[in-house]
Symmetry: C2
Subunit: 562 residues, 2 copies
């Protein structure tokens, strides 16, 4: 395969719109940002329609929540029905056995071949980690769309012992594409299965080399832990292009793997779901042309994505400006930050004027490293100033202390050492954190058995029933309760009560070893780095939690990792 | 209009399949009964297809839960796509302005006229009280189906001040039907609106008398309270036939209202959701023929509905058999009940053999009035005997004391008098009960303000967010917790704790005046009549609850009333 100038479109050229991680319903209750994902999904489908693509290929996480709200499902159905139905004929055919490709579907054939549906743009999608199949029936949100005939959910593996990926074989004129898909699987499990040779990509029996082999996957690509990602070299050499979902940073221009011959395109998300630098990269989708074994990825800039600007400030790098011994240093810092934010707002405004379809208020993030004896100022008052100009007023400013990380002391359990702060631009893995915590904590603290009635049991029961929604609701409640707690001074008895509650959670988490519960556990008791400096929160649990978790993930079904 | 022999079907005759209260998803997690609603829905649609009807008309409560599970939505979409799509042309046309008829829809036209959908059987449905629109977007589960193009949701009123019902005007040959619909509205509000002349049924401008006027409604028809139903005489005289949903007893053969000229057909539910005599009436759907202004309702017996047999026994009516002073009387009663149940099982088995499509295990209910000094026997042990032969082993036997109702004494708050036991065949209205409770209780008990953290606050927050699902989950948890509580002896301190918790719930309920919360409140602390006789439960709260609520409604989104 080679990258080339765009092949002249024609009867031998597939045109494929490539996008991923659309996260429909993300922050849907936010009065400012609530519609962002729906607007951009419509923009994406509009591009598909205007470019008269043969099909749309999605790399997972079309939905943000495993059980999307009624509004989200409704809105998604509306968009698909509006943009993907119509009279323009679909110009490719399917050569593979569709009963195999869509074996788990009640209507195991591609939607555009259904005699009762007039589909002009078939959408093919694998599921992501956000919208993966759950429950006794192992259905996912995509299956609702698929059952309604508006989407083709593929790449689903039902066995945990062996994954055979059967491609959907597509032909348009003289071009043949073997489309492989693998819906999200926990990275560690998939890693292990690759190592144990339990993953097989099946190949067409005839003319093996005449196919353009396109693989869609939704996993960690960057190394989050030893086995918590999928190394590119695990993938088969015969692949021509990998469309890699899950990673939110847009790196859509195909880049070649150095050891292997294939190209990788990482489209990135179409919505900012974490305030990290990767998400600030301009969002694109791709228009992939495939003719014979040649391909070209055209980038299409998304115009409806809310602008996001992020900057870092290290106070200690400005000894000329800030002296920690100056009694007015906090005011000086605040003024400095305000100036920074104003500049970012100017930039955002100029950018938006170039793209009138972009929503008005930008997302702004200023990360302030206040190590070196400085004190954080009140984020609350600062936020209020930007209530009407910024989409995320509550979390514009993010205080952290990067430099002092390893100098912390005076705590019974040295979490400063135990939990290394994530490197710049990296997010911390909650699973690792919890694992580390238990490895150390169990030596020092004898965890009691669950004997108390109350929330502990509630959680236990919900877990037994796999009622994720219920947990999520409990978490929201617990989070708000915790935030109130943290604002109050407490008696020793109250402190003890908190400790007891934490014991319960710890027990539950440790006995379930579940990612979701880890999030639950953590989110239930974290608040914000900025609390860290307040002495009476230096209860070791609180310390653990405040010290390690990013403050802005109230939606628990979203992974705090990304 | 007149009832007549079935008009010979032809180009002037509408054939309409009429059904209501299908309650998809009812008891979906029950291993025995979980699929009942889906099976019967398929049977209904199969009848529609085999009879080549022009359309299906549903009277509300297609879904049991306001937010049906993914499985339920998926299964419903599957059935509709399977049975209602196809090449058979639809033979009637719509003369009214569809933008008015379907004004709240994103696709405001009837599905069979959508060029992208090949619909052979259009389904028209109003919503019921179980699947009514909720949330900021006022969407209901039917809107998902409607947005997917598989159902036509009509009869929705968005104003609370004025209801103008615009008919969908249908014509087939020389027959013209004006189809009026009114989705479920709280009875008391609709009653008031009728009284205040705020409800108007609009009529076609031309040839007013040439239309067959068909009205579908989903409200209480039987008088549950002074204004808590819709008297038939409220409805306009010009109507020809009312299809009345919500009432579960099948009275599908049209009967004429004596004061007015119209007929009423009450199809009844297609699944047994409460163990009351009305539900034991054989379930039917209707095949309505309309030619000119003549109509005929053909009854179609549903064959897949699980058999339900209910009988009553009054122990005091058998002085020859049972003497309360005999030490072995309880065994005698138990043997008698067992004999009764065996007879019912025989009847059920014979019935089932006549209809091989009926599910194997019947629903059996024996109501035992044990007034007159008798003691109930252990329902638990009795139930176990029928675990493999009955679909509802846990609630076969229902003990009550009808005769002694007004003789109860020795309780601080005289709930015996306060809460009159429902008359035979009637169910108690939970709302009335709670209202009565607060009217009386507030005089005696000074309700404290909510000051405790914990479940109370959780509930409060969920209420604020209208997170019914979350409440439902909490209720399930609370219910199980309560059941454990009730099985244990408690210290005074523990009793007090329960009282405190009840105070909290009372406060929440009283401040919200919500039906849902009333259910929550009640269900949280009820268990079973049979606990009633155990002395240490005669705490007055417990008494109130145990005394009044039917034991078998673990699904809180289902109304215990019906």
């Amino acid at each position: 395969v080679s990258q080339c100038d765009p092949p002249s479109d024609g009867e031998d050229t597939f045109k494929i719109l490539v996008a991923t991680d659309i996260h429909l319903g993300y922050l849907e209750k936010d009065p400012v940002r609530g519609n962002d994902t729906f607007v951009t999904f419509n923009e994406i489908l509009d591009h598909a329609q205007k470019n008269e693509v043969d099909f749309v290929l999605l790399g997972g996480d079309l939905f943000h929540d495993n059980k999307p709200s009624r509004k989200t499902v409704h809105s998604c159905l509306e968009s698909l029905r509006k943009y993907c139905m119509g009279d323009r004929p679909v110009q490719f055919e399917i050569l593979s056995d569709q009963a195999v490709n869509f074996h788990y579907s009640k209507f195991p054939w591609v939607n555009y071949q259904d005699e009762n549906l007039n589909i002009s743009i078939p959408v093919f999608s694998i599921h992501g980690n956000h919208d993966d199949p759950t429950g006794a029936d192992a259905l996912c949100a995509l299956d609702i769309l698929s059952c309604a005939g508006l989407l083709n959910h593929f790449g689903r593996s039902t066995s945990v012992e062996k994954i055979d990926i059967s491609p959907i074989l597509l032909r348009k004129g003289r071009t043949k594409i073997a489309l492989y898909g693998l819906g999200a699987i926990p990275d560690e499990r998939l890693y292990r299965m690759f190592v144990n040779k339990q993953v097989t990509m099946l190949r067409p029996k005839e003319d093996e080399d005449s196919w353009f082999n396109l693989f869609v996957i939704h996993q960690n690509r960057s190394k989050h832990g030893a086995t918590n990602y999928i190394p590119e070299q695990f993938l088969d050499d015969f692949i021509n292009l990998v469309v890699w979902g899950h990673e939110h940073e847009c790196k859509i221009a195909p880049f070649q793997n150095e050891q292997q011959r294939f190209y990788i395109s990482q489209p990135g998300s179409s919505v900012v779901t974490s305030l990290s630098p990767g998400e600030a990269v301009k969002k694109h989708i791709g228009l992939l042309h495939v003719k014979g074994k040649k391909m070209k990825m055209e980038k299409i800039a998304l115009e409806t994505v809310r602008t996001f600007h992020i900057e870092d400030v290290v106070l200690a790098d400005h000894p000329d400006l800030f002296n920690p011994d100056n009694p007015n240093v906090t005011q000086a810092i605040q003024a400095f930050c305000m100036e920074k934010v104003e500049l970012m707002l100017d930039t955002a405004e100029r950018e938006r004027l170039g793209n009138p379809r972009q929503p008005e208020k930008p997302i702004i993030r200023l990360r302030v490293d206040y190590a070196g004896g400085f004190e954080p100022f009140s984020v609350h008052r600062f936020s209020q100033k930007y209530m009407h100009r910024v989409a995320n007023p509550k979390d514009i400013i993010h205080f952290f202390r990067h430099r002092e990380q390893k100098e912390k002391k005076g705590i019974d359990l040295n979490f400063g050492k135990l939990v290394s702060r994530p490197a710049e631009g990296m997010t911390l893995r909650v699973e690792d954190l919890v694992k580390q915590y238990f490895q150390t904590a169990e030596k020092k603290v004898q965890l009691s058995l669950l004997t108390e009635r109350g929330m502990g049991e509630a959680v236990q029961e919900f877990v037994d029933k796999e009622e994720k929604d219920a947990i999520e609701e409990l978490v929201k409640f617990q989070l708000e309760k915790t935030q109130r707690f943290l604002k109050e001074r407490r008696t020793d008895a109250e402190e003890e009560k908190i400790d007891e509650e934490l014991y319960m959670y710890c027990n539950i988490v440790s006995s379930h070893n579940s990612y979701f519960l880890s999030c639950f556990f953590i989110s239930t008791y974290f608040s914000n780095y900025s609390y860290f400096s307040v002495p009476y929160y230096q209860n070791y649990y609180t310390l653990l939690l405040l010290n390690t978790v990013s403050p802005s993930c109230p939606k628990l079904s979203s992974s705090p990792v990304m």
